[in-house]
């Protein structure tokens, strides 16, 4: 989404400060997985608000529909049947962008301003700057962005940045019939999560907890999980997500070091020439072949 915004804290592929005069509170969406009934109203609300229409897919014999995120489906419910100490459990997780405080997509993106992070913590794609390289997909620890086959731009959940900027909650939170999705300042959401986790623990979910992974600096979409010790149970939610060492090297230390290294090679060559002079045919050999001149 393109917004004329003055509350940007980070832009992709930009080495100078971003327009960030406005201060807005840090927000978060809290998804209480223990309250989710898997109705997919959030998926519908998302498509409705954002005017995306995914193509009609095929039934894969499971409730997941569509089976994966696409450039049109920015959120999907993932249904996992797992056996835990409590017996068979149906764990339903609303998947989508986590809006990391330290976003791997933004770090990897080579196009200036194609990925931005607002003071609110929302990580947004500005598709008009996107070049379609897919580096953000490579950089994302949660495998979220999707390249559109239609226009070769990447799309993902915007956390309804266009709604939030006007002071209303994201479409999914607005529509959720059980209150499993709530939205507010990150501080409020942390407090709300704490209360919920307390309730869950009282009701026998001893391992209930918050998913706000520190490896990516915390996220602006958080989960309350009944099995917070085993997030992988929830259709492969990573236990300790982080921007991997390969991406850190590629888009971290390597960039300035390589640029400096190349400059040094060029400068080395130039100064070699002006200090040592050219490598010419010696006078003696030239004399041997005088007839050539």
């Amino acid at each position: 989404m393109a917004l004329q915004s003055l509350d940007i804290i980070r832009r992709s592929a930009t080495t100078t400060p971003s327009p960030g005069q406005r201060k807005t509170p840090e927000v978060a969406k809290l998804i209480d997985v223990t309250k989710c009934i898997g109705c997919k109203a959030c998926q519908v609300a998302c498509m409705e608000w954002n005017d995306t229409r995914d193509r009609i897919g095929t039934n894969h014999g499971v409730l997941d529909n569509p089976v994966d995120l696409t450039a049109d489906s920015w959120t999907v419910m993932r249904f996992a049947e797992v056996v835990t100490e409590r017996g068979l459990e149906w764990l339903i997780r609303k998947d989508g962008c986590m809006h990391c405080a330290d976003p791997g997509c933004l770090k990897a993106c080579p196009a200036p301003g194609a990925v931005v992070q607002y003071a609110s913590g929302i990580v947004d794609f500005h598709e008009e700057n996107c070049i379609g390289c897919g580096y953000c997909i490579t950089g994302c620890p949660f495998n979220i962005p999707r390249l559109s086959p239609k226009d070769s731009k990447v799309y993902k959940c915007t956390l309804c940045s266009d709604r939030v900027v006007a002071g209303v909650e994201p479409a999914c939170a607005k529509t959720c019939p059980t209150g499993a999705i709530v939205f507010g300042t990150k501080e409020d959401m942390l407090r709300h999560a704490e209360e919920r986790i307390g309730e869950l623990k009282e009701r026998g979910f001893a391992r209930a907890g918050l998913y706000d992974p520190k490896g990516v600096g915390g996220t602006h979409v958080m989960y309350v999980l009944h099995h917070a010790d085993k997030p992988e149970l929830y259709s492969g939610l990573p236990k300790d997500p982080a921007i991997g060492p390969a991406v850190e090297l590629w888009k971290g230390a390597a960039k300035p070091l390589a640029a400096l290294g190349l400059a040094l090679v060029g400068a080395g060559a130039f100064f070699h020439y002006v200090t040592k002079g050219p490598n010419e045919v010696s006078g003696e050999i030239e004399k041997e072949f005088d007839d050539e001149k």
């Binding site: 200036p112 700057n129 379609g132 490579t138 070769s152 590629w250 050219p278 490598n279 041997e288």
Partner: protein
């Protein structure tokens, strides 16, 4: 210039054309690749019609270079076998860099430094081709798991940096060694040049000292 008895043919027209095809595609690849590597170089995408065009063109130019470079590899690989004399040449490389070639062992068609460069370029190119296929998002990336894509992104960047450094070195060596640019541009070299820089090759071609 045709069949000039006083000059020696060093590179045939086909060899020259192919070398410069590789050179041209390499420069285009380096410019567009650097644009994606560091924001300071991003304006280079304008040379290609903007970021999206640079992203689209880069891998196709890469295919052309891979073919051209591949032909060079098969053509020159036998000339670039590293011998004991080449190892000795490399052992004396500091003197050469200092501009003192008195103790340098006699070089054949290519000297030890050129041969080492050849193999380093081949290694870089192999890494660039393999990792480049993996990160060609439009056609191939979906075939690979995330960790291979991440690894390939780093390998591509590192191999490209090494290759750009090697080519800067290669271009400089050609400028530094007078008349070698002419050899690759026009094909023919003076006998004095050949005897000075590639004495073993000179004898092999002329069958003597002149």
């Amino acid at each position: 210039m045709k069949n000039d008895p006083k000059r020696i043919l060093r590179y045939t027209p086909i060899e020259r054309a192919n070398h410069w095809l590789s050179a041209l595609t390499f420069i285009l690849l380096a410019l567009s690749g650097l644009a994606f590597f560091h924001p300071a170089f991003y304006p280079l995408t304008q040379l290609f019609g903007g970021g999206v065009w640079a992203r689209i063109l880069h891998p196709f130019i890469g295919v052309v270079m891979a073919l051209s470079f591949g032909i060079m590899f098969f053509h020159y690989r036998r000339d670039n076998g590293i011998t004991a004399a080449d190892r000795e040449w490399l052992g004396h490389v500091r003197e050469m860099v200092d501009g003192d070639d008195r103790n340098m062992p006699e070089a054949g068609k290519f000297n030890g430094g050129q041969k080492l460069l050849f193999w380093l370029l081949v290694a870089s190119m192999v890494l660039l081709i393999l990792s480049g296929i993996v990160i060609w998002r439009a056609y191939f990336t979906f075939l690979f798991p995330a960790w291979i894509i991440r690894l390939s992104s780093v390998v591509h960047a590192v191999a490209a940096t090494v290759m750009i450094a090697l080519i800067i070195f290669h271009i400089y060596a050609a400028i530094w060694t007078r008349e070698s640019m002419d050899a690759m541009l026009y094909g023919w070299v003076r006998r004095a040049w050949a005897k000075q820089h590639h004495p073993a090759w000179f004898r092999q071609i002329t069958g003597g000292d002149r």
